[in-house]
Symmetry: C2
Amino acid sequence: MSTETPQKDLRDLLAAEVRLAGYRPAHEVVDGLDELTYLHSGPPIDVYRPLPAPLVGAVAAGLLFEGAATTAEEAVAMTRDGRVRLMPCQDTNVAGPLTGLVTPRTPMVVVERGDGRLFCSPMHEGDDGGMRTGTYDVPTLERLRQVAEVVAPALNRAVLETPVPLRPVEMQISALRRGDECHNRNVASTLGLVFALAPALARLPEAAAVFDYFTRTTQHFIAISAAVAKAVADSIECSGPAGLVTAVGMNGQDFGIRVSGLDGWFRGPSPVGPMVALGGADITTASPGQGDSPIIETLGLGAFALSSAPALARTLGFSTDGSRELVEEMRQVCGCDSPVYGLPNQDFAPTPAGIDVVRVADSGVAPATTLGFLSRNLGAGRVGAGVIRMPMQPFLEARKALAPRVIGVDG
Amino acid sequence: MSTETPQKDLRDLLAAEVRLAGYRPAHEVVDGLDELTYLHSGPPIDVYRPLPAPLVGAVAAGLLFEGAATTAEEAVAMTRDGRVRLMPCQDTNVAGPLTGLVTPRTPMVVVERGDGRLFCSPMHEGDDGGMRTGTYDVPTLERLRQVAEVVAPALNRAVLETPVPLRPVEMQISALRRGDECHNRNVASTLGLVFALAPALARLPEAAAVFDYFTRTTQHFIAISAAVAKAVADSIECSGPAGLVTAVGMNGQDFGIRVSGLDGWFRGPSPVGPMVALGGADITTASPGQGDSPIIETLGLGAFALSSAPALARTLGFSTDGSRELVEEMRQVCGCDSPVYGLPNQDFAPTPAGIDVVRVADSGVAPATTLGFLSRNLGAGRVGAGVIRMPMQPFLEARKALAPRVIGVDG
């Protein structure tokens, strides 16, 4: 935390104004990418340990997409040979769900914070899988090219030509009333976005292609929620109180957090489950967790708003009462009530927001997150989803590192 | 009830297959209309009592729309002079929310039951009011013409050109998971429909106009739910057990029901409220209730599914627990559990469905319905909405009329 910046109230930072700015290739909005330098989710990869299979598949897809490899075999070999430099999304202005793979041409959702800074997340490629899930077959590449070359440019134009401001936070607030928790269930927010863009889209020649994309991409909005969460997390990192989670994710090796007022990542092993199978997949093949999407929980969404999404809760094994109890339990680890998000099925009580390392450590309550899991069979994609608990060790270590400052403040 | 038709199980009738068939002018799908013969909601109008103001306005709008009057003054005078013959929607194949006014050219949502019979409801004209709300000013007529001449034909074409079947009941089931109760909150079902039709719509030259229509008509789907409810009510009337409500509505004079196994309408005064004001309107100007939309409750939706729609429930003064208690209370008046609709916020328990006159009379519980209220100031449109109780008297009278048969069955 810069000592020059005056510290701001967490609630004010959580109420940051963010607008949907457009859809652009990553190299236009993220620094440091090149044909062999990509982003991934979670803390930095340990190059002395094997790359998780989903990340191998995703990097291979990226190499093929960028034209840096011409066959799948070549792409996998280049990946395993360490030819691609990998950096964490969250050490830039990106949050990347699942593998979080971002190459220079990857189509990104872009949001703009009130101060003009841009934050982004790779566009969802469709409910059938994609680079994000570690598939790298021909359909994956075809979908990715269609999204990058047709869908994203048309959506970008529709955003620019929509006369009313597109406010993702308002769309999330509406979506909570329509059964999303905005992390693993995004159909309502996606439909809300489609509805808002439809008049502008209808005037474009690519309209039918874009609507076809949405028909098979009802999770589209997760990228917008991840980008919004990254924008807010960055605000907290730059000017918030100490001890709050400002980055959180898994890379398939480790789970990690960054914490305001402290440097670097605090790490522990990536958890595997609990989860339920998706579409008959074999969850015993699940690879340890991957993805930056738990950053959405820090906003007060996802598992922290599970009671808003009864259909998802049921799928993940939570009853109506059980999902409320989870939300209430999360109040023990949070810095405040969300100033923006309400829980429709709990009389619109605010969601708990802002994960506070001291409260996690002192309560012994591990923060929860909804999470999708990928197969450790190369190229096999998604296998399950669940509500998992974050490992405690990184929180305890961060708590220890914070201790002198916290004592300083308290004393 | 025809004695030739074998009696079918209520649950089977409530699970009737219905598909969205299209959008067509009323004269193509409803018998008996002409330039001076229109439909209205509720039981037959008593011509010896004054016409309720919203119906005067709606009939005036209809006369102007049909070209049977050229000025608003002339239209109102013709209406008050009794120049227009009025018939109840529900005595045909129609259910009409609010005034329920249907003229020959009125654009209708059309659904087709499994046996090929068509049922319909007047299209919603927009959240700003319209003929259905008793306005008859220039914007009302402009909107109505736009809907009839541009939006409805384009939607009809989109329905025909959508390759997948459009199943309103599946859309309702999804909408319950997205915060609709499918009577007074319809935004999720409307967005679901837009999403399903968008690929076909995008290929039509009228696409932008249709999306513009939806942007100001998030209640669109109520007409589809009303038509589905009418289709099911007709099945119960034709082949269901005796003693079930097969028509229910208000005409601004009286509330009325029809009951399977009995002839004619059972009537009592139209209730006024309780209600909350909409957009700062003065609810002391509310006209007694009008509309056939409580037919939606007989399906097991609306007030019978209020816990699914927490945002609406809150607006109407119900807490999270209060809306569940209302749903549970409605089980006392219903013939069965819905075979199709579940309550996401009550662990997906089925909604109560099929209003049973004997159970109403014996429990003393008046069935509830969500309802919009109109102003008794001519042309002033909507003023409020609420959860009201249906008058008991018609149920008690129907119970009495049923008594011999019920004793016959029991004894």
